[in-house]
């Protein structure tokens, strides 16, 4: 029996309507950011605004990637670019090194995070040891404290250790803020692996190291990818700790440099937008590529409650 026509049409209309609203809400702001980044300063300061760039230009991106070769002085900054009348901020040259910092930190955090959280999650999920609950609660409890509350004492500690401006200090900090969540993800996933597989592995001759390597890791790919992505994205995006723990430009990460542009009123709008686009591309690409894993990894254990 076929469904009557009317409900099907209603459903199609509703779905189309809500899909359109969804796309508008989720993608609209980003689309405008991208659109703005492709406009010249003259174009972007027009009233009413241009929805789409009239003369798409990648001048801003060129500026970012060539900024290092150009010495920005008071004179050539003032004189600007006659054609586009855009102002390059004096810090434009810092953008690429900051991106490199962000990338280096992100990769270190992702790799070390995986190493630390896989081993800890295995122990907590699989081994029945004294202190198991205490360990789990300790790990989760460190995440209850708001970042802004941690920032002050951490700043004092790191300053006393003389590690302000050190990338290593940031890596360790980001490890601490990402590890509780990735451990949680991995525990949920490991607990879903049949207990008998663990027992079989032990009987077959695996110690804990081999049981983790030969049985648990090959079966946990989604959770591993989700953890890696989460750790990388968190450190790529992180702002407060980087703001407080780095004070010279050479050590600063992308969000800090960009926030500097935002606060600097002389900076060209289109240039800031271009910098934003640059910062958004790696995480968004990563998220979309690993979508399937992220969804199943992030939400593992959510339904169990």
């Amino acid at each position: 029996m076929k469904k009557p026509l009317a409900p099907r049409v209603t459903r199609a209309i509703l779905l189309t309507l809500f899909s359109a609203l969804f796309v508008l809400y989720v993608a609209g702001p980003v689309a405008w950011l991208v659109s703005s980044s492709l406009q010249s300063e003259a174009e972007i300061t027009r009233v009413p605004p241009n929805w789409l760039p009239q003369n798409p230009s990648i001048a801003n991106f060129e500026a970012i990637f060539s900024a290092a070769d150009r010495v920005v002085t008071y004179e050539n900054r003032r004189q600007g670019e006659a054609l586009t009348s855009s102002f390059l901020p004096s810090g434009a040259a810092n953008l690429l090194p900051a991106m490199r910092n962000s990338l280096v930190i992100g990769l270190w955090v992702a790799a070390l995070n995986l190493l630390l959280s896989v081993t800890a999650a295995y122990a907590i999920a699989v081994i029945d040891f004294r202190g198991r609950r205490a360990t789990l609660y300790t790990v989760l409890a460190t995440r209850v404290v708001p970042d802004i509350a941690l920032v002050v004492p951490l700043f004092l500690v790191i300053r006393n250790l003389g590690l302000i401006n050190s990338l290593g200090a940031l890596v360790v900090t980001y490890l601490a803020i990402t590890v509780p969540f990735t451990i949680f993800i991995l525990i949920s996933y490991f607990e879903g692996i049949p207990r008998d597989l663990y027992r079989a592995a032990r009987i077959d001759g695996c110690g804990h190291g081999r049981a983790l390597w030969h049985v648990y890791l090959p079966l946990s790919l989604p959770a591993l990818v989700a953890s890696l992505t989460f750790a990388f994205l968190t450190s790529w995006n992180e702002f407060v700790f980087a703001l407080v723990l780095t004070q010279n430009v050479a050590a600063q990460t992308l969000p800090i440099i960009i926030s500097g542009f935002i606060m600097d009123f002389t900076t060209s709008f289109s240039f800031v937008n271009a910098a934003g686009v640059i910062a958004i591309i790696p995480p968004v690409l990563m998220a979309v590529v690993f979508q399937r894993y992220i969804v199943s990894g992030l939400t593992a254990g959510a339904v169990k409650g």
Binding site: F22, P49, P153
Partner: protein, 292 residues
């Protein structure tokens, strides 16, 4: 009997690195911060750090800025949590359907999640821009607005505009959690409800909503904990202004610590915020755990 066998030794080895990192970077600062909060530490006078007991805490409660910040944080958190949850359920209902393009929309959902909060702040600040922003342009073009407005300069709506930016970024994760919860509802329940003659609204109220309870719980607790501690957007978009319109607790802590350099009171405020967050999530779990 205290015998440490193979399991105990392996577990200790596997768990040690994480605990070491957390001890140095989280546990020690948390405890150290308590010590700081009991002292009158002002960075401009580094050699004087007298012990003052709970004076810093008492001083906070006498501080008018603190109560303003509490009021702002409360409004901001309530708006964020309520709207995020509502939107998340709507989006989950949409993406739980099977239709052409559904996979594309699901991929799109991750874009705000992956966007750095600094870029998020930049993006919305640019949209709200009083002269060149999209919001003014759009509303005037459509005819809903006569003249350009200084959106973020209006103390009545600043907080809501910042909340909007925050919601945009945190809605996707909430929606994902709701989708997984929905997928776990047995199809039989809907069939039974249909047979009983329930229409689509009744099916939503009597089948979907009760089954969403675990996911809803998680979203509410998580969003509360996240929203109450938001900081990035306030620094980038308004710096607490205009006036004290967006002067939240996180911002107060930042100002007290890094602008006034009064570390003692800053740490005490951090403790108040941390304990409040903890108590709130606990209360939400206890209260809603029974109700929904």
């Amino acid at each position: 009997m205290t015998r440490f066998g193979y399991d105990e030794r392996s577990a200790a080895l596997l768990v040690f690195p994480v605990l070491a990192v957390l001890l140095v970077v989280a546990a020690f600062p948390i405890i150290y911060s308590f010590w700081v909060s009991l002292h009158d530490i002002v960075l401009t006078r580094p050699l004087r750090r007298p012990f003052v007991g709970f004076d810093n805490y008492l001083r906070i409660f006498d501080d008018a800025r603190f109560w303003t910040a509490v009021a702002r944080t409360t409004v901001y958190t309530l708006v964020c949590v309520a709207v995020t949850t509502f939107l998340a359920v709507l989006v989950a209902l949409l993406l739980n359907e099977v239709f052409p393009g559904q996979r594309l929309l699901s991929a799109l959902l991750l874009v705000p999640w992956a966007t750095p909060s600094v870029v998020n702040g930049l993006m919305w600040k640019w949209i709200y821009d009083p002269t060149y922003g999209l919001l003014n342009g759009l509303l005037v073009q459509v005819g809903l607005l006569e003249r350009y407005r200084v959106w973020l300069g209006d103390p009545d709506i600043t907080l809501l505009l910042i909340a909007n930016a925050a919601i945009w970024k945190q809605m996707p994760l909430a929606a994902l959690l709701m989708i997984v919860t929905m997928k776990a509802i047995p199809e039989d329940l809907y069939r039974a409800a249909r047979v009983d003659g329930a229409n689509i609204w009744q099916r939503f109220v009597h089948v979907t909503l009760p089954a969403l309870r675990p996911g809803l719980m998680l979203v509410l607790v998580y969003e509360t904990m996240i929203s109450i501690r938001h900081f990035d957007l306030f620094l980038i978009m308004t710096q607490g202004g205009p006036g004290d319109a967006s002067f939240t607790l996180s911002w107060l802590i930042y100002v007290e610590t890094f602008r006034s350099l009064r570390f003692g009171t800053g740490a005490a405020m951090s403790y108040v915020l941390a304990i409040t967050t903890f108590a709130l999530s606990w209360a939400v779990i206890r209260f809603l755990g029974k109700r929904i």
